[in-house]
């Protein structure tokens, strides 16, 4: 997000919970903000909205392949177990404390299901990881008039999406080949001549179903209702 409203920079902390997700608090006005949508929910800034950008999850190796010049900010906190991610437990239950902040869950999908939500000004779509997996690890879909590829990174299983001109794709070992001649290897897109191509990504969020559905009650679901 860009923490600037009308030219003034605001400073944030995570101070609470609402709808099962973090509530941000700004030290300038004490307003409460949704930590994903960037919208002020209560307080003097209510209704203000910060511009949002993508926040992608990847290993350092994946990041180096895709962005060799990337810089990383490291705080003074210890990094436990080298910072490797614990496997996501689908059957985990939602903590009752979190549940107490939720009015009504959307029961179209299991509460703790994981997936990736994509959105633009017109449409919001949730792609459960299970649905992507059932489609052999890649889906081509229409997102508000633009074609988008959603795939599971073969190294980590993380769902990622980018805009494409292709109409179909299939895996060849760990390479994803598209029918427009492009190919994805190690998270990097190459054109038919083997040159790197910068991908353009829709806004996307790797998240559990309940958090996504509460933020976007009008969401469509790819892979069954």
């Amino acid at each position: 997000m860009t923490p600037t409203i009308d030219g003034k920079v605001y400073h944030f902390e995570s101070r609470g919970l609402y709808d099962g997700v973090s509530l941000l608090w700004d030290e300038e006005t004490g307003s409460l903000w949704h930590h994903i949508s960037g919208e002020a929910l209560a307080g003097p800034m209510k209704g203000a909205k910060m511009p949002i950008f993508n926040l992608l999850q990847m290993t350092a190796q994946m990041a180096l392949e895709a962005h060799p010049q990337l810089e990383v900010a490291i705080s003074d906190r210890p990094i436990r177990n080298g910072g490797t991610r614990r496997s996501v437990d689908r059957d985990r239950k939602l903590n009752r404390f979190f549940k107490g902040t939720i009015a009504k869950e959307d029961t179209r999908r299991p509460t703790m299901e994981i997936g990736v939500g994509l959105w633009n000004d017109d449409v919001r779509v949730y792609y459960p990881v299970s649905a992507i997996r059932e489609a052999d690890g890649v889906l081509i879909d229409d997102l508000g008039g633009r074609t988008v590829a959603i795939y599971l990174d073969p190294g980590t299983g993380t769902p990622l999406a980018f805009y494409t001109s292709a109409r179909s794709a299939r895996w060849r070992d760990d390479e994803l080949d598209f029918d427009d001649g492009t190919a994805l290897r190690d998270g990097v897109l190459f054109d038919a001549e083997g040159k790197r191509v910068e991908v353009t990504r829709p806004l996307q969020l790797f998240t559990r179903w309940y958090g996504w559905a509460l933020m976007h009650p009008d969401t469509r679901i790819r892979g069954g209702q």
Partner: protein, 118 residues
Amino acid sequence: MYERHARPMSFRAVCSVVSLLAAGGAQLAAQTSQTAESLEFDPDRAYVSEKTIFVPFHVVDADIHPLRAAVDDGLIQSDTWLLVMENNAGRLGLVMDQMAYHHVAQGELRGEPWMVSF
């Protein structure tokens, strides 16, 4: 974690604190563009701590390293999970495990303010 480290209170209970902090807030709000449809907020379902729970990461230049060097020097491992923030000024990685502590990181990238919440 909230139950153990914080004393959560309903949003209504902290309204007075918010009001004090928000001196001049009405003017600020008036200057701010409003979204077409603000989310309906139910204060009775919100839990808000009156004190800092998670210390945010205020990123300064000294905290920033080339990722290649950070891996080569053993500051992080090649399989360390990162959050990669993208904005109009470029990209920056953050260590996911550290963000699970801070929850919020904030700084400037090539002069452009950014904030990440996780």
